[in-house]
Symmetry: C2
Subunit: 176 residues, 2 copies
């Protein structure tokens, strides 16, 4: 960040009055540009004993398997964003259920949220970000070919809860 | 947003290739400036039968009562942000507990998160954003003088859960 979004003046890196952190500030038009964490929202879609994974057709992690998820957009709720991503990436039909995992990835300034989603069909229509969308039984999950650590932890928690017979809310901090 | 943060060229409002939403784009240096929702993180601090509220010394809602909360910062987890705000705004001593409420305020592009926090002292040292920090019993809560709807809903859920004898996770969408 070098120039002001509003007036194109050069930005200054300083601690504004009443604050205690360095911010990008414009002294010409008196604006502070805060940078804040982003939310990634998605679902864990299941159909009987199987779960849906999508093979990524885009970078990063092209060719790796993921749960449908992406950046939350302005104007939507966490659940609306999770449902939108599931439709966009998998073309799945589902009923959105409760919040299942909340994973802090502080290193990259993100929080990931996954909701459970019960699939009402085993037919999919993957969007352009997805090479293939298919159902996996637990023993078929490509654990070494998963795109993201938050996906792996969410799947682990799902199978553990299923075995225990009860689904809870899982909160985790991902450090690497 | 009129000018590019990186090269100061004029931004164009267009739908980038492979996207379906209007974004602020710089054709000079090929950058897309996404705007995403922000997280507000805070706590519901309690001490025996009482809860801690802070009287705001800053706009918006100067003079109204709130739970300690503020924007999540880069590099921290939801819980770390909630704890930081509780220290900054109330100077409270506490043990952070579980996530208690998640409130979508899509109209303003925010999600609010409140954690329970058990106070280990009834002494406070409010920061410059707070005029007064004090404990309230349920019947003393200034319901008509609360700063934000998400604070009101979180307090309501807390007292209802306490009466029921069990604390759950509360998810709500705030529409007005």
């Amino acid at each position: 960040m070098k120039y002001c979004h509003h007036c194109a003046a050069e930005l200054i890196h300083k601690i504004p009055e009443g604050d205690d952190k360095l911010r990008h500030c414009c002294d010409a038009c008196d604006t502070i540009f805060y940078q804040n964490p982003n939310n990634v929202v998605g679902t864990l879609p299941y159909y009987g004993d199987k779960v849906l994974l999508c093979k990524r057709a885009i970078e990063p992690r092209l060719g790796k398997w993921t749960l449908p998820a992406g950046f939350m957009e302005l104007g939507e709720t966490l659940g609306e964003g999770a449902a939108r991503e599931t439709t966009e990436e998998a073309g799945a039909q589902f009923e959105l259920q409760g919040l299942f995992s909340v994973l802090n990835v502080a290193r990259v300034g993100q929080v990931h949220f996954f909701f459970l989603a019960e699939l009402t069909s085993d037919q999919f229509a993957p969007g352009h970000e997805t090479m293939e969308a298919r159902l996996f039984e637990e023993h078929e999950i490509p654990w070494d070919e998963l795109a993201f650590r938050t996906v792996k932890e969410t799947l682990r928690a799902f199978f553990a809860d299923r075995q225990a017979g009860e689904f809870g809310l899982h909160q985790m901090d991902i450090h690497h």
